[in-house]
Symmetry: C2
Subunit: 257 residues, 2 copies
DNA sequence: TCGGGAGTGTATGCTCCCATACAGATTCGC
DNA sequence: GCGAATCTGTATGGGAGCATACACTCCCGA
């Protein structure tokens, strides 16, 4: 695969690197393909690399002793994951698994760290990335404590709209395909309860449900129901980075780190 | 107060700065005292400064619409907070409040950012700090999803032992004073349920309870009960930074960032 | 194309935990 | 030192949500 340079060059995080630095990074990079539903790394594994998702979809998750899956985050093409390596993390403490057949670029942590040492811009970019995600987790923590499953789900839809929302004739459509079980695994409830809750929201006209697809029919009302301001919809439609057509992916709200 | 230089110099995060850089930082720093139970900053406030807690204790928290308090973190002397300013955070999104009469050093974000630009070591230190705390929040998220209040509390005690534990004739003592309401606000339950749970743990011989003080009588058994390895006890006893006696505070596990 | 697995819809008893209420104990502020 | 506020302990009804069970649909892969 010769395209790994292309993927790296078009990642916002590495944009400010000089051609020379890019080449150094590219030389040490490796590209790998993973089938659907396949682990990329495990907890307690040495955190040696940083990952850049080129194609497909990945989830970061962990498992409870009785086998339930807690989803920490979804990763889309153009996004970096496993970046805590750069903050001195020695071992992973979550699972990374593909949800679709995926292509991943592996960047050795030491190489990126070395580049950060000489590039304040890259260094700041990494700090911002880690900080942005921390903020996201903290916000999620707040929306879980003391809240009923119904409220949790409403908050989740707000987050999904902000991160993956696109405009749609009926309202705001969530760009990613998610099963009831997926949603349940994000807010920490059971699949059955999720089905029930989704039924309620549909009946009350807040959302439209097709198989694996959700449309928020009235974002303002949904936001008001949990006392939050409605989020902005960034509306990045094309997300797949496709080197054959050499289009720059539309930057999304989080800058496609 | 002329001692702010002393506080800054003895904070692990700024240790690697040159005398000249330290002086520049010190010149722009301001020191403030806050009484007990007093807000330091609010959500939506402009995130202009980074804070260094010199004395006292601070909690970071947010409130649900019905007035319940969710505690995100406790801050001890020698620790930095509000550091997301350095990752480009524009506005706070949590409350910071004193739990004890406290002394705080305010460092303008722009000054620290400027220093980071020229000091890779400081830059890395900030990234590690933000990353460490992110890891902590993510771990907490995992221990909240799908778990009963009892399990949440056991996990909480493990965390407390790791962060604030000190050896004690009967086991591991939690160094900080916490009310039942405080604990409830961390795991997202009610004060009454917390009282009940603590009673159960005491009866089953896992913990010893005095007013506001907790001793874990059998850390290994407690850890085993939730399927975790028992944490290491770092045992940093003296935590107050007292410029009058000019002692370096004992470094704790998290390096007293 | 056909079979199996994954996803969805629905019902039911039961358990955990919340809301509410109240009383005694302790500590803090004045 | 005294009153008030906070903290702790306990009881009770009711409700949210879990575990379990089962039928049906849709999709994917062989």
């Amino acid at each position: 695969m010769q395209d790994q340079l292309w993927y790296i060059k078009h990642c916002r995080l590495f944009e400010r690197l000089s051609p020379d630095e890019l080449r150094r990074l590219e030389q040490r990079a490796r590209i790998r393909k993973f089938p659907k539903n396949t682990p990329i790394y495990f907890p307690n594994e040495a955190a040696e690399s940083v990952f850049l998702l080129a194609e497909g979809r990945v989830k970061l998750c962990s498992y409870t002793p009785d086998g339930k899956q807690a989803i920490l985050a979804f990763i889309e093409p153009g996004e970096v994951f496993g970046e805590l390596t750069l903050a001195g993390e020695a071992q992973r403490d979550e699972h990374a698994e593909t949800m679709q057949p995926s292509t991943v670029v592996l960047l050795p942590g030491e190489v990126v760290s070395e580049l950060m040492h000489h590039s304040p811009a890259l260094s700041l970019g990494v700090t911002k990335l880690i900080g942005l995600r921390r903020k996201r987790v903290e916000r999620r923590l707040k929306t879980l404590l003391f809240r009923s499953n119904r409220e949790r789900l409403l908050h989740l839809f707000l987050d999904l709209a902000e991160q993956y929302g696109e405009t749609h004739p009926d309202g705001v459509r969530i760009r990613v395909r998610l099963s009831h079980l997926d949603l349940a695994s994000v807010i920490g409830t059971t699949r059955e309860t999720m089905t029930l809750l989704l039924g309620e929201l549909r009946t009350s006209g807040l959302i439209g449900v097709e198989r694996h697809r959700f449309v928020i029919l009235n974002l303002a009302r949904l936001a008001a129901a949990v006392g939050m301001p409605p989020p902005r919809i960034a509306d990045g439609t094309a997300t797949t980075i496709d080197p054959t057509q050499k289009t720059v992916p539309v930057p999304r709200k989080d800058w496609s780190f």
